[in-house]
């Protein structure tokens, strides 16, 4: 069922950001590294919405904090503020006007962080760690949606301590995405539920999973009219399924593709299959980015069913990613996700691990050119040399 062809990987050029090292595998793509990254693995990243000028990036981490940086046009990042929970932060999102950030944590609470006043108040409570949090902006209501390992999906008006609505799920929430009027939640035991959010949230359909392994991440994509029409679902088995909600021909339109595996076509050594940790869709071109435990990120065109590019391998898994509001910045977080370790003993052997958030600046992916049967992309990379001055280089590939 793998229908993706591959194109050549992307080569990097220009001077490196840092002093030369023997193996620069922590940032092989020479992307801009965000300063003052969190102290522990990063669980989520989100860029500010278009309603706010500038690009602000928030990242939640297993160090119980969520940090906010401003990403400037020259690629420099400026740490702005942070808030704490009493447990690891698992997800974070922005309100539609960009004034508030909502954070969800293992401490079973969700908080609303007002950036202007730098105050955070608790707005939600579950019986288990909250894994997913999203802001819903409907014409007749606005609320926060939280999905938790306590198998419930709750909707909160931030002013009230009780949820507006609580929906029962068959299993623990593993990931969710919201693009009004659609919401998708993927649960444990390969559960998949689509909700519709018009008037009030309600369960629309439970879908048989197109994947055979544990669900890990989900992202909704939109059609040409900018309406949500389907979603991409990633599993721990290095595979992503593209699923449309109401396709004209489900057998043909829905498909899965393999990704984040080692060895390629070399079948003599065992193939390592890595989990897909996050999926993000480019807001303009509709191409999707996947990041995996293998320490790579890849860009794909789901309509042409091709791989656009794959990064070099980082020395750590990539745990989160997101595009900014106009799609010219791609941020990804490199930190350990525990995919290789099973016990405390192995942890000791693990050695150091560290956390980075890299901003893959200013990449512009042009849509697939059907006429020439090629994928054209022009890449503008902005990065700084050792003196901190930006260098712009233009590379085109046909």
């Amino acid at each position: 069922m793998s229908l993706f062809g591959t194109s050549s990987g992307f080569g990097t050029g220009g001077t490196g950001v840092f002093g030369s090292t023997t193996t620069d595998s922590h940032n092989p793509m020479k992307d801009v590294e965000v300063t003052s990254p969190p102290d522990d693995s990063i669980s989520c990243l989100a860029f500010s919405p278009p309603t706010m000028p500038g690009n602000f990036l928030i990242g939640g981490s297993w160090a119980n904090d969520v940090r906010c940086w401003e990403v400037q046009d020259n690629g420099q990042t400026v740490p702005k503020a942070q808030q704490m929970h009493t447990g690891p932060v698992l997800d974070a999102c922005w309100s539609d006007d960009g004034s508030k950030v909502f954070t969800a944590s293992c401490d079973k609470t969700a908080k609303m962080w007002d950036l202007n006043s730098n105050q955070a108040i608790q707005i939600a409570q579950h019986d288990g760690p909250i894994k997913a949090i999203h802001w819903i902006k409907a014409p007749n209501y606005s609320c926060i949606m939280t999905g938790s390992w306590d198998k419930t999906l709750k909707f909160w008006d931030t002013r009230s301590p009780n949820p507006m609505m609580s929906l029962q799920m068959p299993e623990r929430c593993y990931c969710a995405d919201v693009v009004y009027p659609m919401a998708v939640v993927a649960t444990a035991e390969r559960g998949l539920i689509v909700y519709q959010l018009e008037n009030q949230p309600s369960e629309f359909r439970r879908i048989d999973s197109p994947l055979k392994h544990q669900h890990r991440c989900v992202a909704i994509f939109k059609d040409k009219q900018n309406k949500p029409t389907g979603f991409a679902l990633g599993s721990i088995e290095g595979r992503v399924a593209i699923h449309y909600i109401n396709p004209p021909n489900p057998a043909k339109d829905n498909f899965t593709f393999k990704c984040h595996r080692s060895n390629g076509t070399n079948t003599t050594t065992p193939q390592d299959i890595y989990a897909v940790n996050a999926i993000a869709f480019h807001p303009v071109h509709g191409t999707l980015a996947t990041v995996g435990s293998d320490g790579r990120f890849s860009f794909w065109d789901k309509d042409a069913r091709t791989k656009l590019k794959t990064s070099e391998q980082l020395d750590q898994p990539i745990t989160a990613c997101c595009f900014n509001q106009n799609g010219n910045i791609f941020a990804y977080a490199s930190s350990y996700d525990w995919s290789k370790v099973c016990d405390n003993k192995s942890l000791q052997l693990l050695g150091q691990y560290s956390c980075y958030v890299c901003v893959y600046a200013r990449e512009r992916l042009l849509p697939y050119d059907k006429h020439l049967d090629q994928c054209h992309w022009a890449v503008y990379c902005a990065w700084t040399n050792q003196k901190g001055l930006p260098i712009l280089a233009l590379m085109t590939a046909a």
Binding site: T21, W62, P88, Q196, Q200, I207, W338
Partner: protein, 393 residues
Amino acid sequence: MGRKKKKQMKPWCWYCNRDFDDEKILIQHQKAKHFKCHICHKKLYTGPGLAIHCMQVHKETIDGVPNAIPGRIDIELEIYGMEGIPEKDMEERRRMLEQKNQGINTMIVSASVSATCLTLTIFLLASGIPPMMPGVPPMIPATPPVMPGMPPGMIPMGGMMPPMMPGVPPGIPPPMGTRPAITHMPQLPPAAGVLPRPAVPAGPSVQPDVTKPLFPSAGQSQQTVSGSPHTPPSTTSDLAKPTFPAYSQSSTGLASPNTGSSTVSKPPSTVTSKPATLTISSATSKLIHPDEDISLEEFRAQLSQYQCSIPRQGQTTSATASVGGMMAPQQHSMRHPIPGQYGGPQQGMPGYIPGRIPPYIQAPPVVPPVYQGAPPRPTIVTRPPVMSPGGHY
């Protein structure tokens, strides 16, 4: 469909239980997936052919058919398309198909509801609103035996033909209201009882999709959802159950977490989780994931709690943590990712930091002395003291 001689079933692959529309496609599938040499990628015609090729050309033996489900890997059986399948397996397949069909029939609440949906569909088609019935088109090929009873104009409902209009009973009102349509059901011609199967999955999904938007208005959906029973969505994708029984077995196998977790994921355990895609001949694949079928975050959360007595990071003097640990605020600002090999960035950082701290809550003066002087020596397991004194910064 085709002639009755085609064993009355759709072509299916004996090696992996997948269904196909056409025998030709089935054969192509078999050649590409099961009879392809893993060394030179030559496509052979049969299992024994592949074995012989590997022996003669590459001097290698293969012990099973690649990409086959366990129990169907016999390399000696000469199977080509649908020919050569042992009668026993044919019977089994027929029984399975029957069971599946039975199961679907019993899900039907009433034939009249389904027939209403059918006429509703036709009305929608006639009035130009495309109904969205994801479950229906795959069902169409299976229902021809049921079809003959229907008025001829109604048959190609998946085909969306406008000429069906004359065939529609005039008593049915426009499709805007689902309720009135249902109440009119007694007026339908006797064909109402004939088409039990495909319309039911269409039922709950057609009604909500009457209007163009992706979802119905919430009020309507509330009614319809409460009104019609929520049929199991297994019909929406037939791939899930019959064609991949091995997968469902494997997922239940994974679901029972082995709490041993003493070693890193070992190949034998992952073999059970990937029965169908494992190429048995020489390659194996390994899932880089802890053995238990819980998410990485859950796995980690239980570990962190396990270590809650150990300070998560920073100095030994910092308060012992509860879950996740409340670090002394100083920790954040000075804590830096310090992999040994990156001398470059670290030099840049200290100069950076003091200027950056004010936005943070932490107190700036804490930073420099700790940074250069007494480097925090985490004692927790997750951060072994790799940071050698001072200089490596």
